[in-house]
C-alpha cells in the first residue's frame, strides 16, 4: 500500500508534464515570446512543484497551483530581462509622447489613413513584423499589451503580474499602442521611409 502510494508520488511530476505541460508552456510562451525561456520557465515550475508538493493542500486544482508557480517563474525571467536592459522602467518616464507630439500637442507625423484588416491574420510576414515591433517595446509595455490581449486576463491579475496600479496600466497600454502602431506604419506599410 505504502509502496504504491510512493511510486505514484514519484511519478507525479511526469504526470503533470503530460497533463499540463502543453498548456503551461503556451501560457509561458505567450508571455515571454521566446521558446527557450518558456521551456526553462516550465522546467523551473515543475522542479519547484516537485520540491514543494507536500505543501499542496488540494484547496485549488493542480492546474491552478502549477499556474500560480509558473506566474512567479515568468516574473523572475522578466525581471532578469529588465535588469539586463538597464534601469527598471518607470512608467512615468517614457519620452514617447514627446516624440510623437509637438509641444502644442499636435502629431509630428500624422497617422496615415491605413487599415489593419482581418486579412492580416493569415499573413505570416505581418506577424513577424508585429513580433519585432513588440520586442522593440520597453519590456513592461510589451507585457501590458500582451496580457491585455490574452483571453481571460482581467485587469486585476494583469496589474498584479506587472506590479503596477490600474492607472499605470492604462498609461503603459497607451504608450505600447503609440509605439506599436507607429512601428508597424513604418515597417509594414513603409510609411515615412522617404522622409
Amino acid at each position: 500500500m505504502q509502496d504504491s502510494a510512493e511510486s505514484s508520488e514519484r511519478r507525479a511530476p511526469e504526470l503533470w508534464l503530460d497533463a499540463y505541460g502543453q498548456d503551461l508552456y503556451r501560457f509561458a510562451r505567450a508571455r515571454l515570446r521566446s521558446d527557450a525561456d518558456a521551456e526553462d520557465a516550465l522546467q523551473e515550475t515543475l522542479l519547484a512543484a516537485l520540491r514543494s508538493r507536500r505543501d499542496f493542500r488540494g484547496d485549488s486544482s493542480e492546474r491552478t497551483w502549477l499556474t500560480g508557480i509558473l506566474r512567479h517563474k515568468i516574473g523572475d525571467v522578466l525581471r532578469r530581462r529588465e535588469r539586463s536592459a538597464g534601469a527598471p522602467q518607470d512608467p512615468e518616464r517614457d519620452p514617447i509622447e514627446e516624440e510623437m507630439f509637438t509641444a502644442s500637442g499636435r502629431w509630428r507625423d500624422v497617422p496615415a489613413p491605413l487599415r489593419f484588416g482581418d486579412d492580416l491574420l493569415e499573413r505570416g510576414e505581418f506577424w513577424l513584423k508585429f513580433e519585432q515591433c513588440l520586442m522593440a517595446l520597453p519590456e513592461r509595455q510589451a507585457r501590458a499589451f500582451v496580457l491585455r490581449g490574452v483571453e481571460g486576463e482581467d485587469v486585476e491579475s494583469i496589474c498584479k503580474e506587472l506590479g503596477v496600479t490600474a492607472t499605470n496600466l492604462w498609461v503603459l497600454l497607451h504608450r505600447a499602442r503609440l509605439r506599436l502602431r507607429s512601428c508597424l506604419e513604418r515597417n509594414w506599410f513603409h510609411v515615412g521611409e522617404e522622409r
Partner: protein, 87 residues
Amino acid sequence: MKRLFSCRENARMASLALDGKLSLSGRLLLRMHLWMCAGCRAFSKQIRDLSRLFSTRSAREWSGAGSDALLSEEARARIAARLREDG
C-alpha cells in the same frame, strides 16, 4: 480647453475608450475631435484593429491551432529527464 482638444490628449482618450475607461463626457469630446481630425481618426481605428487582431491571434495560439506554440518533443524529454534526476 485648447489642451483638452489636442491630438496628444485625444490619443490618450482613444486608448482609454478602447479599454472601456472613458467617461461619458470624455467620449463626447473624443467623438467631436475624431469628427474633425483625420489623423486621430486613423489612430483610433488602427489601435482598435491592432488590439483585436492580436487578441484573435493569441486565442488561436492558445487553442493550439498555432503549431508554433507547441512544446517540442525534445524539450519535453529533456524536462522529463531533469525531473527524474531531482525526483
